[in-house]
């Protein structure tokens, strides 16, 4: 293809938006509509891959659209962290679309055009977040993401969906307007720039106390990272159809949150400054606390999706810890965990959706003995659980390893303990599900004979993501390289 890298970068943001027009026009012809979705996904992914290759070859890219406020406008660039995020999101979008076709049709959901359109807008916003070159651009796409996912959360229009949507929007808008926007403006005011810069934008002149406050505001402000006490929206968002929970609330939205926090830690504060701030320690403890608490709450959930949601909250704080540790291993672990968790959790959600579509079950207590009805699904569930827990042969092993190493380097004993306990808890709340599916407590629950797997497109999606969980364990090198690149960029300032 003979298009400049600049065009490619812009296309990643614009293309999903353009596809919305196509989706709406094709609203009366579902096959065409879904074909558009998938084709867009494939093109988008290949665009991101092109960017990835370009970046690995050392290209430096920066695109400026126009200024909204003098000195502040839409700016995009490529850097490893963003590329990582974009790769994951765009790839999983294709998979999720496949899955959604099976899920939505089988379920006979209404308003499918709206569903696919909002999905595409959300992806466009995710691309905007991934490639944002400054906080301002990031903030704008962050808000667009919130708003475009709101109709997805409330998709069913029931009272529960409305309530969930209210909490979702309430928390995300509240935190982003009250804290994040404030922090963004304050940063602009203090530093005079919002550009993501290796080594941070505060040149050591700013008052450390102010910066500490800013850091707290940022971490709380990015409500999508679901650090306690601003985590309530995530379980609420589970009223959405499963593909939404799978892609957006296991990957895109929450990862946008932790991604933003990583970006802010690495490129606004900088690795050198971060450990010096008094609030870092406090936030680390808070993240550790979130890891533990969320795991404990997850154990008590009987609804499968709610359990997975709390598990997500817990896992997100792993990544926040990685970012806040500001050590080499921490950054490596954090960025790798973005990918590892994405594949693991999306598989789990896919499985949950598949169970719901095929058997109509949402409660874990009802899932005893379904293993022989849905062997593929439950096997996938098992593997993905291993990855989340962080034991071989799951990819999660690597990222957790680095996170523990990072905590060791920083001498954060409390965190090491928290991570360890949490892993145990993970085992306790995830593994019994596939285990009981195959080996129920009461053998009479065993249903044999009739295979009732999910629709084929959904099943394919599950298999693909499960395979990735395994591949990432066996062959983590490209991911490691990318994480290393992230670390290198972040440390570029000290040469």
């Amino acid at each position: 293809m003979i298009v400049s890298a600049q065009t490619v970068l812009q296309l990643t943001v614009i293309l999903p938006l353009l596809s919305v027009a196509g989706l709406i026009m094709a609203s009366r012809r579902p096959n065409l509509r879904e074909a558009i979705s998938i084709i867009t996904g494939v093109i988008l992914f290949s665009l991101v891959v092109m960017l990835y290759q370009g970046m690995m070859d050392g290209d430096v890219l920066r695109v400026h659209w126009f200024d909204v406020i003098p000195g502040l406008g839409f700016n995009f660039h490529i850097e490893p962290l963003g590329v990582l995020f974009a790769l994951i999101a765009s790839f999983l979008w294709i998979i999720t679309t496949f899955y959604a076709i099976g899920y939505m049709r089988k379920n006979g959901e209404s308003n499918q055009t709206r569903f696919y359109s909002c999905f595409a807008i959300a992806i466009s916003a995710v691309m905007g977040i991934a490639f944002a070159a400054d906080l301002f651009t990031l903030f704008i796409f962050y808000e667009v993401l919130t708003l475009s996912t709101y109709p997805l959360v409330t998709h069913s229009g029931t009272e529960a969906a409305k309530k969930g949507g209210r909490i979702y929007l309430g928390i995300l808008l509240t935190t982003s307007i009250a804290f994040l926007l404030f922090a963004v403006i304050a940063t602009w005011f203090v530093a005079g720039t919002l550009d993501f810069t290796s080594g941070g934008v505060f040149n050591g002149q700013a008052n450390p106390l102010v910066l500490s406050v800013l850091l707290v505001l940022f971490v709380f402000g990015v409500g999508k990272a679901a650090i306690m006490p601003f985590h309530r929206w995530l379980p609420s968002a589970m009223v959405a159809p499963t593909p939404v929970s799978a892609l957006l609330h296991a990957v895109a939205v929450v990862k946008a949150g932790v991604f933003s926090i990583m970006k802010i830690c690495l490129y606004i504060f900088g690795l050198d400054l971060l450990p010096l701030l008094s609030s870092t320690q406090f936030l680390l403890y808070l993240a550790g606390f979130t890891v533990l608490m969320a795991s404990l709450i997850a154990m008590r959930q009987d609804s499968l999706k709610a359990r997975l949601a709390y598990s997500t909250i817990s896992q997100l704080s792993y990544i926040i810890i990685g970012a806040l540790l500001a050590t080499a291993s921490g950054v490596l672990g954090g960025s790798m965990h973005i990918a590892m968790h994405a594949f693991g959790k999306i598989t789990l959600f896919f499985c949950a959706g598949a169970i719901y579509v095929s058997l109509g079950k949402t409660r874990i207590s009802d899932m005893q003995g379904i293993g022989w009805q849905m062997p593929v699904t439950m096997a996938a569930f098992f593997i993905a659980s291993l990855s989340i827990i962080g034991v071989p042969p799951g990819g999660g092993t690597w990222s957790k390893w680095f996170l523990v190493m990072g905590s060791l380097e920083a001498g954060q004993w409390f965190l090491i303990v928290a991570l360890m306990i949490s892993s145990l808890l993970n085992i306790a709340y995830l593994l019994p599900i596939p285990f009981r599916a195959f080996f129920p407590n009461d053998q009479t629950d065993m249903v044999r004979g009739s295979m009732k797997e999910a629709p084929l497109p959904a099943l394919i999606a599950i298999i693909v993501t499960t395979l990735f969980c395994l591949i990432l364990f066996v062959y983590p090198q490209p991911l490691y390289d990318l994480a290393q690149a992230i670390l290198n960029t972040a440390e570029a300032s000290h040469g």
Binding site: F66, V68, I69, P70, F139, I140, E143, V144, L147, T154, G157, A161, K162, G165, R166, L169, G170, L173, T174, I177, A178, L181, F182, I185, A186, W188, F189
Partner: protein, 492 residues
């Protein structure tokens, strides 16, 4: 003709009003009014351009030089306000014929257009003039026509609202008159520019202090600044939709303009903010206004009232920016004036479309409209997002500048309060959104169709403006900053 632009700005609508009476047929009158308002808009654009090129324009009425005669003095501030007023009124007028056909008896249409044009001319006159007493005269032109326009609402409560507005408005105007009289007594002049040069000599007298107090209170009555806002919500709620759109988008802006003009240009910053602790007072009132009115808005069942309370809250933001007392704060206020006109114009006009189809704007009647009137409701949603201050809309730009201005002054807590205030907006806007999209239509409401195109086009012109000026701020921010700088330039 070009050097007569300042006066043409005012007399085009002013003379168009009586001409309407000769045309008689409502439809023709409407077309004529559309042309007149469009022309007014064109003039304001040209004026802005002229001011940009050649600086402040002075136009001596009757050929008598000020302070003996009355002069029009157009600087960036005036030009910006003129542009806001004339643009919104022109767009709103497009929807006139359609909207009125449902809301007003045919035999009143003629008067409606006449009063509308007069009200417009009155507001333009207030803004354009450089003479304190002339302000009073045109204030009355615009107010009287506004009272009558409000009273044309279908609900009988419109009458009562209008009456209350009349009493409050007249008290306000009379207060201003007293203030002007006292100023005249101390300086012997009525020309604003001349006043500004002569007031400092006598600024330490009690009389001047009292004159200032009266003018400020009078203007604040018009401005519906908390706690003097009580007349506003009902007046907006029960007026015909077009009137609400016009007034909400423009009339409080005119009052803010007066406040800015009097405090900054005439009395001067040192007097207003240093001698008197006015900024503190305004800050407190502004913040209180934001919170009290926003909370009140949350509990309203009638969406027009809901957004009317929101207007009171938004006035609070403008006053907060104003009370900062720096060029940045003032320009934040001005930007918000511009932006708020766009938001509220779009919202109230879209509500007009709802009234046109449904006949009521109670929340219960809006239930399920998201499906039936998708474009209209989408307009309200975008307008609402703008009120909240979501990025990509003008509301975000306003918030941004306001907060930067507050931070510059070191008022961190206030900045935080401003943001918290906008969260209240989330709640009341979302009440409307949920009704429209997630509640089933009431069984006793007939299904309705989307509003006619004649209504949708003006609504969407405003909506698109909301987004466009949320992205391209060169015009709004540029002029606002120039105006603020100008005001601070003349008052060292």
């Amino acid at each position: 003709m070009l050097n007569h632009l300042p006066i043409l700005q005012v007399i085009v609508p002013l003379l168009a009003a009586p001409i309407c009476l000769f045309l008689q047929k409502p439809k023709i009158v409407w077309l004529f009014a559309c042309v007149a308002t469009a022309l007014t808009f064109l003039i304001s654009v040209l004026l802005l351009q002229q001011v940009n090129v050649s600086g402040t324009l002075v136009y001596e009425l009757g050929g008598w030089e000020a302070p003996w005669g009355i002069e029009y003095r157009i600087d960036d501030l005036n030009a910006l306000l003129l542009l806001i007023i004339s643009s919104i009124s022109a767009v709103v007028m497009w929807a006139g014929h359609i909207s009125l056909s449902k809301e007003l008896n045919a035999d009143r249409h003629l008067y409606f257009y006449v009063l509308y044009l007069l009200s417009l001319a009155g507001m333009l006159g207030i803004v354009a003039t450089g003479d304190a007493f002339n302000v009073f005269v045109f204030l009355e032109v615009s107010s009287l026509s506004a009272y009558a326009l409000i009273a044309l609402g279908r609900d009988r409560r419109a009458l009562w609202a209008s009456y209350k507005y009349l009493i409050m408005g007249t008290i306000g105007a009379t207060f201003i008159l007293i203030g002007i009289g006292l100023m005249y007594q101390m300086t012997g002049t009525l020309n604003m520019h001349d006043l500004a040069t002569r007031l400092p000599e006598v600024s330490q007298t009690r009389t001047v202090f009292v004159s200032f107090a009266f003018i400020v209170v009078g203007v604040c009555l018009k401005l519906a600044l908390f706690p003097l806002h009580l007349w506003l919500p009902n007046a907006y709620a029960f007026a015909p939709s077009l009137v609400t759109a016009l007034l909400a988008a423009t009339s409080t802006k005119v009052a803010i303009y007066l406040l800015i003009r009097f405090t900054f240009s005439i009395y001067g910053l040192s007097f207003s903010f240093t001698t008197l602790p006015l900024n503190v007072l305004f800050l407190v009132l502004g913040v209180l206004g934001v919170f009290v009115a926003s909370v009140a808005a949350i509990y309203k069942r009638n969406t027009k009232r809901l957004f009317a309370y929101s207007s009171v809250a938004q006035v609070g933001y403008m006053i907060i920016g104003f009370s900062v007392g720096t060029a940045a704060g003032l320009s934040a206020s001005l930007i918000h004036i511009f932006n708020h006109a766009l938001m509220k114009g779009a919202i109230f006009l879209a509500l007009g479309a709802v009234v046109y189809r449904v006949g009521s704007v109670n929340l219960s009647q809006i239930n399920g409209l998201g499906r039936e009137m998708p474009y209209t409701m989408a307009a309200i949603v975008i307008g609402g997002l703008s009120l909240i201050g979501v990025p990509l809309t003008v509301g975000f730009i306003s918030k941004w500048y306001l907060i930067v201005a507050l931070l510059e002054n070191g008022w961190w807590p206030v900045a935080l309060l401003v943001l918290l205030g906008s969260l209240l907006a989330v709640i009341y806007v979302w009440k409307v959104v949920e009704s429209a999209y997630f509640k089933p239509a009431d069984s006793d409401r007939e299904p309705v169709k989307e509003a006619p195109l004649g209504f949708l086009i003006p609504v969407w012109v405003l909506v698109i403006a909301n987004v466009y000026f949320g992205l391209d701020t060169r015009l709004s921010v540029g002029v606002a900053q120039a105006a603020a700088a100008g005001l601070f330039g003349v008052t060292p």
